[in-house]
Amino acid sequence: MSDSPLSAARVPTAGVSLFHYASPQTFFPLAGKLLWPCWIASLLLTVAGLYTAFFVAPTDATQGDSYRIIFIHVPAAWMSMVIYMAMAFWCAVGLVFNTRLSFMMSSALAPTGALWAFIALWTGALWGKPTWGTYWVWDARLTSELILFFLYCGYMALQAAIDDPRRADRAGALIAIVGAINVPIIYFSVKWWNTLHQGSSVSMTQSPTMATTMLTGMLLMALAAWAYTIGAALVRVRAIMIERERHTDWVRQLSNAGSNGDLNA
């Protein structure tokens, strides 16, 4: 038994643990267990963040209270970029390892990414009016973020237009990976071009140029957005798993476990 050809091909234990959750039937219940911690963390962080944003952080000396839009605007813009990179990452993993769960993760992230991109644009417009005197201007930062929103929309429209999920995944992966070049363009746009948009208030190389309480509020809201995004993506990836794999044994078994059964767990 021990020298059968199969045992030679057996994956070492470390490999098993790495790829263990790469299959939908093992990831489905794990994703379900992670949901409530995400929602609770997001709720608590939002409450703490909003309290800091409105009652702790002082009125800005130059912008007055209009700056309080920052507590949504910056986390939303960050998330819109991070989610796109995550999508491109999962698509690349899917193309290299041909793992179906990776493509499902990418599809699950797209609508939430589009949501944050839209919120970043919307709140940016509402912040631009009182501070710059205009809702919109075709400067590099705003235009590249608008392109990011269109990339999300294009990815989702393309996937929806192709019936075969495997082909839809591959076509979508192309947009996700090629479009990823736009993310560093957004990030560095305020350095590379003369933009109306201000430079970053928070950077990885310098200490932040804003009051500590303002920064705290922004970071709390950013963490809340992270927790929310993970929760939303997990719910969506679970729905996609059922939709796509409902004719496979593992979904049948869960579906069989009861009308209200294990598909909820």
Partner: protein
């Protein structure tokens, strides 16, 4: 404390329209996504349950003939 009254809080130093439309639209969109997500999950479960029932009916018929 930044505000001396509720009215002052809602006025946001004259920027109330801009601040509150930002927060309101975000809240509405997030709520809409949560509703859409729960609907999608419910629909997926129903689809799986329906397919399972159809398969059972099929195999039942085949068993009888």
């Amino acid at each position: 404390m930044n505000w001396e009254s509720a009215g002052q809080f809602w006025a946001m130093g004259g920027y109330g329209f801009f601040v509150w439309s930002s927060y309101a639209v975000t809240a509405v969109l997030v709520a809409a996504e949560l509703i859409a997500l729960s609907r999608r999950m419910r629909r997926a479960r129903a689809l799986a349950a329906r397919d399972l029932a159809l398969e059972r009916m099929d195999s039942g018929k085949r068993g009888r003939t």
